[in-house]
Symmetry: C2
């Protein structure tokens, strides 16, 4: 029953990446507030220096640093204070030798000044005279114009997913709008004669459609617009009509259960009928997730995923994500970040196959211990109780107790 | 100029948690599709077993396992095949000894059958007769009713943030709606005479408002409804009016720059005037972020954050998140997940103070190396270029090159 001529894990990744090397989502302009989590479509270059003027980092007196040279508590330097810098106003003083200006944290350094003496190191001498009790070096207690960002420098690169800190640097540089890739429209088609919708009553022999919910949630979390196309049963004609509509209205199509024994022929035939090159992958040497189909129908990537909920999630995470990151020109896949932990027991695998094992994490003495979740495949509870997944690569026949493994987390880190 | 009587990091966390121990967001019912990323407000109990009937995990023949005992290739067991299980239909056969039923993967096990023989281990003998070439144990190749989820068991606990796998288990158990906590309305007030909005033109001495964007993005990513209240300048009266409105319409208030020298008195006075117990924290022994104010105004938590962008983000991550997770009854703070890496150089700190240092991560021989980002504090670029932040606890005078450190990631992991 080895019905698939399997592609290896890395070949499958390469094939999917290559198939999408020329396809890109459209771009659109959004406001900065809407840009969180979106992918930048072109390098963004600072049009101005940040800070736009030299600023004090402390409360004190702006001075010419050379006037403080040699100053100490025994022989302070005397300064004439000619005014006060007001926050948010131009410091329109021109310092002459021996003069200083009172300045608050963040205030603009006046022309001529090149350092700030902290208030702690000064003593009032007369109404407009201050004694400075130690030396300051040029640039001391100052952020110079352009220290944070130089004008003309790239502040956010194309393909960056915008996190709060990127939103911050864009705000700082005055970018009220950003050009990002459009959200990718993803169609999800569920197949399976045993499936019923979540609001329907269930009869003996039927089970509820899980995958359109888990896949929809995963794809939403990855920044897609998800378009559920319902549960398709019965006939090739009906399936072909739904898939045609999906391919013509969406940029990516996921068929849940589309690789199961009954539906496989439908899926492959329909993909092929919708445009070249048709089906490119008939099965991947992974567990779970082997019966996976991938094809390109008239420029639109189509995935036929296994019906087993865990297998469908693993394939979505490993391959659909990759396709999405290519569509949006992301440099790294969203799933690249992992944590490390020690395995609590031996886990067997088979060389030539990549295995994915759900684990629970327990923190012990500052280290994570990864406990594989045992149980029959396809159980959604094994996924909902897991903290993450470990990947046993193709060249290993298993992993050993105590071994350090990388865990792809099942939960989100906020920023 | 040590103007604050500082609270330690852990005292501050405790005080914030204690202040919010009795306050909870309201709850609401949402559809399962809308529930992604929301926090469940009550334990959810399975009303039915999953799977709702025993299912085959392979293609083959459902049999009474005892009828196969002793079977092997030399002396196969002979079965009469009395029919075929159809996907999605009740298997209404009653197996007698020596009888079997053809069954597809996922099909319902007929009454009397307790195991499935894989197709590979059978040979067709006559039209309705099949030879079974090896033994199956009771339960072999079967997921029994309730194996995945037992009826009456808690499938999602109160306080869980719903990830795709939780959405999946809820779909599987037929939960079309979920009761979750309302999104917390968070007001963000920016203060600072030097600040101008992102769409305004900038004059010498002025800088753009960064924090309302970074804080707004962080709080959105944490699942809040963010309500920007604009930039407040000039007078206590104006500030008090805006803060009053924020406290009466939102469940949490963040004042950016509300702890700077000029605004501190305003902030403390206004919080105190709005209700007991008023200001509880005047400064926290952390760097950056020391000038932080926290109070409770008539049951609403109010944070006065430093104006420096990096300090504001650190305080938001360490303390505002904690307040939010308390408001929504989350068991663990969203920021709990970190990765480990080796420090690339010594980093000095001061005992009695908790320090936060932005780092860049480089992967080397399968391990992360954390490179501290040097530079003057308050630079947004030091945050936008960082991959994460390390925390130097209060009892350390620094961290050493090569030391293993925990890094809170600056980027999101999708599910």
């Amino acid at each position: 029953m080895d019905f698939f001529q399997c592609t290896t894990f890395s070949e499958a990744q390469q094939l999917i990446a290559d198939s999408l090397s020329e396809v890109r989502a459209n771009t659109q302009k959004v406001t900065l507030v809407e840009a969180l989590g979106r992918i930048v479509a072109a390098d963004i270059i600072a049009q101005e220096a940040l800070p736009p003027f030299s600023r004090s980092t402390v409360d004190g007196f702006a001075v010419r640093s050379e006037d403080t040279f040699g100053a100490n508590e025994m022989s302070p330097a005397l300064f004439q204070i000619i005014g006060e810098v007001v926050m948010g106003r131009e410091a329109a003083f021109e310092l002459l030798p021996g003069q200083g200006v009172a300045i608050p944290t963040g205030g603009m350094l006046p022309p001529g000044a090149d350092a700030v003496v902290m208030l702690e190191y000064t003593e009032q001498h007369a109404d407009d005279m201050v004694m400075v009790l130690n030396m300051v070096a040029p640039g001391e207690n100052v952020i110079a114009k352009g220290d944070d960002v130089q004008g003309g420098k790239i502040i956010v690169f194309r393909g960056q997913k915008l996190a709060p800190q990127h939103i911050g640097v864009l705000a700082a540089c005055g970018w009220a709008d950003v050009v990002v890739y459009h959200k990718v429209n993803v169609a999800i088609i569920s197949t399976g004669d045993e499936l019923v919708g979540i609001n329907e009553s269930i009869k003996f022999g039927q089970i509820r459609d899980i995958n359109s919910y888990t896949l929809g949630a995963m794809l939403s979390a990855m920044g897609c617009s998800v378009k559920p196309m319902g549960i398709v049963k019965d006939s090739f004609e009906q399936f072909f009509a739904v898939l045609s509509q999906a391919v013509s209205t969406c940029q990516l199509v996921v068929i849940s259960g589309g690789s199961s024994v009954g539906a496989r022929d439908y899926t492959e035939k329909a993909i092929a009928a919708l445009g070249t090159p048709g089906v490119l992958i008939h099965g991947i040497a992974i567990k779970p997730g082997k019966p996976t189909i991938f094809g390109m129908a008239n420029g639109v990537p189509v995935f036929g995923l296994p019906g087993h909920p865990v297998a469908a999630m693993v394939v979505c995470q490993q391959f659909v994500t990759l396709a999405l990151s290519k569509l949006m020109g992301q440099k790294e896949s969203a799933q690249a970040v992992t944590i490390q932990g020690h395995l609590s027991r031996n886990v067997a695998s088979v060389p030539g196959r990549d295995d994915f094992v759900t684990v629970r994490l327990v923190k012990q003495d500052g280290q994570y211990i990864a406990h594989p979740i045992l149980g029959k495949s396809g159980m959604i509870s094994s996924m909902s109780e897991a903290d993450g997944i470990i990947h046993i690569p193709t060249d290993k026949s298993g992993l050993y107790v105590g071994e350090m493994v990388e865990i792809v987390l099942n939960k989100s880190v906020e920023w």
